[in-house]
Amino acid sequence: MTDIVTVTDLVKRYDNGFEALKGVNLGIREGEILALLGPNGAGKTTLISATCGIVRPTSGTITVGGHDVVRDARAARKLIGLVPQEVALDGFETVMNVCRFTRGLFGKPQDDAYIESVLTQLSLWDKRDSRTMALSGGMKRRVLIAKALSHQPRVLFLDEPTAGVDVELRKGMWETVAQLKAEGVTIILTTHYIEEAEAIADRVGVIARGEILLVEEKDRLMSQMGRKELRITLARPVQTVPEALTRYDLEIGPDGTLVYRYDATGQATGITQLLSELKGVGLTMTDLSTHQSSLEEIFVGLVHDKETEDRQAEAAQ
């Protein structure tokens, strides 16, 4: 699959000296859903803003559909739809008119039939003549999506589209995103919600302190980095790991259970041997359960490692 968005060595340094992006490289494939995960202040919004032309890069390049976003801004921007993090709407205008405005602003001739289809898809057609200020928070967010879609972009940036949105609406938003992907739109989504990335993304990028820590297929990421845990409940709970079992990666879990960590993708997990040795040291098991790390645990681990690394680097200086 070819990349529709290419970010090369992107640096953004603000006037106050803060470096929001420290040489970011990223390729976004046509037609995929990429979830960009990162804590607050990681650089997610700056990366999107630089791609959309709202923030000027200090150095580095970004191309969209082969067009440089600075030198060939007009061609690049025509391809991009942006749903911002903050709900920003002209409250005095109607839903239909704000969508018409965006379509016109992006240089597309008016096409009310198309806007009708977008509004219908987002369950907003009934509200087309309502002023945006009269809508609920969830509806306003959908209006922002409708506006971004009204000029038929090939790449859609959703900057935390479900922040502060209730569960039902969030699921509805995911369905919309899936539908857009089916229509061939490339979607880049930033989010705090790991479950969101787990539910809809094809690939996951993790960004922290202005650097991309990894970009990986979601499934591969989870299987590669996803450590599994085997929890062994014993007839008689233990306080310490028996001497004979110390060569295993064992810990004492709650209620005196034994917790064994292993790599589920490895050739030999060591489970069979561990279980057979239990009997030898006089332990009787009454139950077994396994647990796989979630994307959230992987994410927290990566970000934590990055922060520790940065602190050490700062201390060394």
Binding site: R56, K78, N97, G104, G107
Partner: protein, 253 residues
């Protein structure tokens, strides 16, 4: 040049104008009528004539200029400040439009609105005083140029302003006094020599003088100087807008 985008901005802004019909059209008609009652009838009955023109008619160009300048400035400044305030500016900045298209859309709409108001005031004045316009083409040209240049100024103020107080600061503290002291309601020759000299440092004085010449054929300064003044003013505003978009000042980080 992208005419569809320009039209989108222009039409969106004009819709706001007609949505607030009362404030946009009725208010200037009422305030102009009040000026005619106060200045034209009450004070004018004691002044009689200024340089051979009935006082009521004499103040018409100044009145139109007063409204046009303040309306063009406030409309354009609000038009670009409002998206900054509510956050919808992201859309303008990320759209495939260049600065010239943005300026034509916003400034064009603000200029159209003020031109419309200027025309409404002119028509209203016909109900109060007898006026014959000696140079109608020049009158229209001056009016359009003033609308455009002050809308440009307003656009700059709207980008500069960080809050509503700043938005009103320049129109209230600078433009209104300059218009009042620029000979809206009197001829500069009626002032003592010192204040006459001071008036010559007021750029608005040249615009009002030229506009009045278009009406009555009489002016405080030669009409060529007035034209030059408005051309220089427009050029300064255009240069400032060009610089703002080139550097992204108060727009792009």
């Amino acid at each position: 040049m992208n005419p569809i985008s320009i039209w989108a901005i222009y039409a969106f802004e004009m819709r706001r104008f007609f949505r607030t019909f009362l404030q946009s059209i009725v208010a200037p008609v009422i305030s102009t009528s009040l000026y005619f009652v106060v200045f034209g009838s009450a004070i004018g009955s004691r002044i009689d004539q200024v340089e051979g023109v009935a006082y009521g008619a004499f103040i018409v160009p100044g009145l139109i200029m007063l409204s046009v300048m303040t309306q063009a400035t406030s409309n354009a400044s609000f038009a670009i400040y409002f998206p900054k305030f509510v956050g919808t500016i992201y859309e303008i900045l990320s759209a495939p439009v260049n600065y010239l298209e943005i300026v034509i859309g916003y400034v064009g709409a603000a200029a159209t609105k003020s031109l419309f108001i200027g025309t409404v005031i002119l028509v209203t004045s016909f109900f109060f005083v007898d006026i014959t316009i000696q140079h109608p083409v020049a009158m229209v040209a001056f009016l359009i140029l003033t609308c455009l240049s002050f809308a440009l100024l307003g656009f700059i103020i709207g980008i500069w302003a960080k809050n509503f107080e700043q938005l009103n600061l320049i129109p209230l503290l600078i433009i209104t006094p300059l218009v009042f002291l620029g000979g809206s309601f009197y001829s500069a020759s009626m002032l003592p020599p010192f204040w006459q000299a001071v008036t010559h440092f007021n750029p608005v004085f040249y615009l009002i003088s030229g506009f009045r010449w278009a009406f009555f054929g009489l002016a405080d300064v030669p009409v060529g100087v007035s034209l030059m003044a408005i051309a220089v003013f427009t050029l300064i505003c255009l240069t400032a807008v060009w610089w703002i978009f080139r550097t992204g000042w108060r727009l792009r980080e």
